[in-house]
Amino acid sequence: MRFALIGQPNCGKSTLFNHVAGYKAETGNFAGTTVTYIESKILVSGKKYHLVDLPGTYSLSGMNPAEKVTLQYLTSREVSVIINVVDASHLAQGLGLTVELLEMQKPLVVALNMMDEAAREGMTIDIPELQGLLGTPVVPLIASKGRGVRNLFVTAHYVAKQDNSPERLTYAKDLEEVILEIAGNLDGKAAMLEPEPFAIKLLEGDMQWQDQIHDEYPQLLPKLNHAQLMIEQTRGQSADWVISGERQALATNLASAVVVQGERRVSWRDRIDDILLHPVFGYVALVLIMFLFFQIVYGIGSILEPPLLNIFSQLEVFLDNLIGADTLLGASLIGIVQGIAGGVAIVFPYLVPFLLGLGFLEDIGYLPRIAFLMDTLMKRIGLHGNAIVPFILGYGCNVPAVMSTRMLENRRDRFLAAALSTLVPCAARIAVVFGLVAFYLGPTVALAIYFFNLVVIAITGRILSGLLPEKTPGLILEMPVYRIPTIRTIIHKTWFRLHEFVVEAWPILIAGSLVLAILIFYNLDNFINSLVRPITWILGLPAAVGLPLIFGILRKELSLVMLYQALGGVEFSEVLTSVQLITYAVFVVFYIPCLATLAVLKRELGIRNMVIITLLTVVIAMIAAQIARLLAIIIL
């Protein structure tokens, strides 16, 4: 038995899915789009089901990729029961989709989610009444707490057994006449839709259906055009508009028939936006929250990192004594250990607290507020407020930053946000800047590099967005009510994201580490230095820094650690001038993202965009390092 979850964005559909599927979901890409649906086998009350989580959609009009995927899935796959998740606290809008789903004439169960939210809003919903009006089972649900979940699937199972399709609700008389007339010409063979729902979709002027009838019912096309024209003349609006308006009207009537609106409980959640979105205090709060967030992440990370690194360096010494670093086996094993260490000791101490903190900010509902506050700034570099999130994440680690571009709607924005967020200095690059520049030249110079980085990102953003003109009209973003997150969901979310890193990026890190160990074993480091020599020469740096730069692609901290070895184990300031230190640090901040980031870029945007972004970062790094060098020569 296959159940499909469908609902409007932010109705708690995925919360329900993850509650029953336990974050064991496999993701699958639908041909050519970035919009995904997730399918999982679930076990409820000892029975196995297939459950599909379709992308959140406001309607089935096929306007955007998410709607198209949903409509295609519902019409082309074997779905036993559609489970329509509706946010009870916004019943009128949510039922708009329900009305449209009723038209499909497939077995349907309505899951009225966020009943606790609705109660807080002072709403009392007459569920038996709603059930009667819709002609389909309605199950109350609080997905975040798992309440009503079992009942929902038992009901869905029962509906599937019965295989009863609900009747659609009827529209105004004139519209119904036209629908029936068109439906009379159809035989129910096309598009896996019954004649009436198919007729409605055709009247709405959906292109993908129009093509089909052009082939299969050529005599229908003139009738359809005539009907659309008739509606437009009598109603003064185009047919698709009239139909969506009717749906909204039906939904509003349904909601007002079953909802008793009581006194709304005013809570901290209403007051809090007065501060967090305030033109002055909002930004103060933003800076404070971000500062606190990073302080906590770095605090935890810097406590965990040294002991973990210590374990691995002892392991390296042990291997050296046992097999010898001068044998191929020994060198290879040490290379592998270094790769594992990169994942365990560098990424985990920072990534785990970072993802936990991010999950918290996400679930409480703060991220859309940041988008609101930062929209102006982001518009200057050709993006919307939504795109601020990857930038914030980038300061921790570029890997989750690139992953988070998934929430952006179109490919252009995703590319732009991903490309720019790889220029944000991550925790590892911060270590390089601190270890080199702040240590030898003082914190002011390190701060100057940070500021310089922001300027470079802004200029790059302007140039790139000039090359990729924008089509989207602007920000439309719901500010969800604040919700206190549950520890369970945050831990699951963190594990889910960590899992992706462990499976996809880490193996590459280990393999890369092994390859470099072998290169060094065969004394190919001089060869590598000479390969990178053109770059190091232009930047006025000694040839020996070539290898640390190559290692830096593996893991950014290695640009610092390896530099020590490459320069013969002496103080940096004895070999490199102040100008060279700054040039090197600036180059490290911008050039080629680390392997883990490259792996994520490839998965999220494809290999072509990964290569483009990589080349772009090299060009930017060269220019930025030259400018920094000139500035350093002038000022110092």
């Binding site: 409007q8 406001y58 309607s59 009009s61 306007m63 606290s89 916004h90 009128a92 809008q93 708009g96 809003e121 969506s244 308006g245 909204q248 936006d273 979105l277 305030h278 033109p279 859309p368 988008a371 609101f372 506050l373 929209d375 102006t376 518009k379 919307h384 407020g385 009209p473 602007g474 920000l475 439309i476 973003l477 719901e478 500010m479």
Partner: protein, 74 residues
């Protein structure tokens, strides 16, 4: 008048939409229909978006969107 020109704290009635269909559709699906009343909660500074409340929801609308929404003060 345009929604963009409405001062913070003022209530308005939606008269209609200008411009692209896609924007209007998205607003309708969020529940903003002609005839509805909406309240402008605040304008973000420096040409930022507007925070608008209707039917118990708060939505941030970019200026490019707000300029296309025609309203009357109530």
């Amino acid at each position: 008048m345009k929604l963009l020109d409405v001062k913070s704290g003022k209530k308005v009635c939606i008269v209609g939409f200008q411009g692209s269909r896609g924007v209007e559709l998205k607003l309708r699906q969020l529940g903003l229909l002609p005839g509805d009343t909406a309240k402008v909660i605040r304008h973000a500074p420096l040409g930022g978006p507007l925070l608008v409340e209707f039917k118990g929801r708060r939505i941030a609308l970019g200026r490019g969107i707000a300029v296309k929404i025609l309203v009357e003060e109530v």
